[in-house]
Amino acid sequence: MTTMAEKGEHRYVLNMGPQHPSTHGVLRVILEMEGEYVMDPQPVLGYGHRMHEKMAECRSWPNFLPNAARMDYLAALIYNHGYVGVVERLAAIEATPRAEYIRVITSELNRLQSHLLWLGVLVLDLGAFTPIMYTFEDREKILDILEDVTGSRLTYCYMRVGGVVRDIDDKFIERTREYIKWQRSRMPMYDKLVTGNIIFRKRIEEIGEFTPDMARRYGLTGPVLRGTGIPYDIRRAEPYSVYPEFDFDIPTETTGDCMASYLVRVREIEQSLRIIEQALDKLPDGPFMAKVPKKLKLPAGDACYAVESPRGELVYHLTGDGSDTPYRMKIRVPSFSNLSLLPELCSGMLLSDLCACMGSLDLVIPEIDR
């Protein structure tokens, strides 16, 4: 029997996952290794497949509302926003201005808590335990604010076609303003504690570099794409809701490595705070729910609605056939495209760098499998 070593091959197969702390869910990656170098990583998907797209075709459109939040548990409100947005576009319903502002404020708070969790978890993947404790302290404040208005802490079902479930009150506005002040005072601390740390920098600088051309080939979106220097953000490129009314920047970096996507996300935290601040200042009075017919049927035809999730471009494509059940719904999720980069990006890389790479892609597995 000739062993692989006799044939001059030293490769072996290592199974990472489905239960692995740095895969953030049930993702399995089959790694072909040569020593400690990963030669060919192949992700295996489908462990968390719950057929959300099929479920949308089998039930009436209001019954899909709770499903939207279950796809990406870290950006539930943004997924809510996308779904009610596509139904509104297809049925030609307009949400009230106040509702649109509330949607933007809550969505941005949701984005902030997703980025804070990612910041803690990325550093945790690289072996530092302290920052996640600090980010959780901040994140807890957002969850408390959102719990008060939406009623739940993670899988929100807050937005409805035509508006939102519950109006925000002065207490919410006051607490959010307090939170903004608090988060701003915390950012220099993270800068010193995480960004400046030499070990952290050595682990992610010049790791997993890719070019804008490669990003385009794989259809990358979100902070990973902006890390290569392309300022593509749905909130600007294809503005939805009331985003055109706000003044905010799209942070970009040019190197395209893990450090670039890290810096982009950290700067996005400040931009989200700016959006919330402006939205709170401009918040119009009026009803928080538009008049929507009780038995709303989806007209024949199709509509597309794209929103910017913390991980990239999220698109809902809905086809109606005149009944209240969608004929077809296609959901384009950002993490799926971002993960497809992995085999090309991580070939020839150290195993420990692969963990850094996966951490900087900010994968949410239930969203990939959906």
Partner: protein, 147 residues
């Protein structure tokens, strides 16, 4: 060579700065709540499982008229209710209201659709049990027990 030592110096400095931050945190008030022994107040808007609420005018009665709107609209079909016609009583009388909390996704559709506002969210968040049947809540028994 010079660069090498400069890196060691700046790197070492960054580690010390990080440790200073963690040291300062040591003297700040503790954020952790020792959960089973202490509890944080729950927001009044918290959405727990649904309950039947009693009428403000007639506190001995709940407001459910057994129209089955909630049962029909529930996305997870976790509500099972039945009403019957009784002599001398106007309308339907609720005889069973079962909520299968293992399936419920707390979307709030039933509370919004209810024509008589008979449903509301409870404040209960500690759900513990050994069997699935322990999460099949009998809302009618709950509201009658409250009396």
């Amino acid at each position: 060579m010079k660069e090498y030592f400069a890196l060691i110096f700046t790197g070492g400095k960054s580690l010390i700065i990080g440790m200073m931050i963690t040291l300062r945190e040591l003297f700040r008030p503790v954020v952790t709540v020792q959960y089973p022994r202490e509890k944080l107040p729950i927001s009044p808007n918290y959405r727990g499982h649904t309950i039947l609420i009693r009428d403000d005018e007639k506190p001995e009665k709940h407001r459910c008229i057994s129209c089955k709107m909630c049962e029909r609209e529930c996305p997870s079909s976790c509500i099972d209710l039945a009403g019957e016609k009784r002599e001398g009583v106007k309308g339907m009388v609720l005889v069973r209201y079962q909520l299968d909390f293992t399936k419920c996704s707390l979307c709030g559709t039933c509370v919004e659709i209810c024509p008589t506002d008979a449903l509301d969210y409870s404040q209960e968040y500690r759900h513990v049990g050994f069997t699935r049947e322990e999460f099949h809540y009998d809302l009618l028994a709950m509201v009658e027990e409250e009396k």
